[in-house]
Subunit: 264 residues, 2 copies
DNA sequence: TCTATTGGTGTTATATTATCAACACTGGTG
DNA sequence: CACCAGTGTTGATAATATAACACCAATAGA
């Protein structure tokens, strides 16, 4: 919680697709950390190549070290390469923007996306950090992951991102229970206005959820037919990805969604 | 130097393509850090998803967070995607294994490779950290990067990796001077036995070197003809990559290699 | 059973870090 | 031109997180 390395790594969260370069003061302002502290932390991370500082503008950005680390991880445990083609199929089937994310510490990391080709579509920020409590992927993951994860999420503060965001612990627990009984998660405008999410969990080889795959639809376009189609497609895609990364669905989950597909 | 975040990030260096999962004691042993400290550091890094711990085996590995960070960096500053096709051409032209690397803190990070199709070839470890002083890419980078980089490298201790590795500061500085006068770097068995390296610098938009591209040939196969061919090819490839990532070669360097190509 | 690992946990002196202030520098504005 | 608001950076000190040590529980092998 109050460890310096955790605080330092928090700073990395502020770099995004839209703002890949940030100044020292800017980072300090957003993170609420003292300028001097930020300066030293960034300096330390620069030593390892995790960030790098532009020589002229003095702006900081993510460094070449993160590419190296990603290569090590990806060659040892290929997932992005496995997930991408499946997402493309899912996007084609549903006609909407889809993405896959994995548990990454106290949040979900968006690791692969495929955007809809429609002009009116949900656009995702690549490499975004997604909260568990406000996203369909997050609920799907929480419902089937190790129970300690839910406890940790409920213990931490939860931001209210839209008027529909559920932040109350008890309500959230009930929603997670519902997802667990249902086999998939549905959330409307809880993370972003006008965005509807439909997600299924991904399982690791121990049979615990390690992430989720999700279909993001503009809320106004969501219909019963689209819902039925998307649920079926996202469950199938999640199954393929689970297999592709060497995981396995627990028997109970297989049974749950089998009845669900028959009913649907 | 003695900051805790730097120490924590050092731990990440021990994960490699061959050993993607490591135990707590193992990491402590290799890094020379106390077990308790390693435990705390890994815990802190796990909060951000930089590493993750297998629930059953308790082994640690690089987490999904590094994939997310790499995506942010790569969508903002695409390099891997730019570099890869050029490397494939270079590998086809030279018939050997090639790779590109960027400055990453106090070392060079291998960010893209293309292996030769010959049965007898140099095989590179994906995402390896390459020392500046013992690799052709390192010398090429040092020769044309900001001078402060060379000073930092000379100030730090340098490992002797083969009987041919140059570790002495004065000799190394002379070698870097030679590379600067020559326009490219050549090194035989200084980083690994029986491996010959030939590298050209990559430049950022300020005209300083930010990395290198290199051809790795089995030493016994190296000939004058192969050398001439590889030098021409690697210089051309480095130029393409430099342009591709928005950099520019200084005028002086353009002139230098122009005469070189004419002579060759 | 006995031994040698493993991962993980306390506790306290110590060393690092947080905080605040001031610094030099830049670019824009009156 | 002086001014101002902004930047990145560097010291000083007080506060505190850390390092180091021994220790524990659990596992695996002989």
């Amino acid at each position: 919680m109050s460890s310096t390395v955790a605080k330092a790594l928090m700073l990395l969260e502020h770099f995004s697709e839209e703002e890949p370069e940030l100044g020292l003061s800017e980072i300090a302002r957003r993170s609420g950390v003292d300028k001097a502290a930020v300066h030293r932390m960034l300096g330390a991370m620069a030593e390892s190549g995790l960030v790098e500082q532009q020589a002229d503008s003095r702006l900081y950005r993510l460094g070449a070290g993160v590419l190296r680390l990603a290569r090590v991880r990806e060659t040892a445990f290929p997932i992005a390469s496995v997930v991408q083609p499946i997402l493309e199929t899912l996007s084609a089937q549903t006609g909407e923007t889809v993405h896959a994310s994995l548990i990454s510490g106290r949040a979900l990391a968006n690791i692969a996306t495929c955007e809809s080709r429609k002009s009116n579509r949900v656009s995702l920020v690549a490499g975004e950090v997604l909260p568990f409590h406000s996203t369909a992927s997050g609920l799907a993951t929480l419902a089937f992951a190790d129970e300690s994860l839910l406890d940790r999420v409920l213990a931490a503060p939860r931001a209210s991102l839209t008027p529909f965001t559920v932040t109350d612990a008890e309500t959230l627990r009930a929603r997670v229970d519902a997802v667990r009984a249902q086999g998939y998660a549905e959330s409307d405008q809880t993370n972003e206005e006008e965005v509807h999410g439909l997600a299924a969990p991904l399982f690791d080889r121990t049979g615990k959820a390690c992430g989720g795959v999700s279909v993001s639809t503009p809320s106004h376009r969501m219909s019963d037919a689209q819902r039925a189609l998307s649920i079926r497609a996202v469950l199938a895609a999640a199954g393929e990805i689970t297999n592709g990364l060497g995981g396995r669905r627990p028997r109970s989950y297989e049974d749950l969604i089998a009845t669900l597909v028959l009913e649907g």
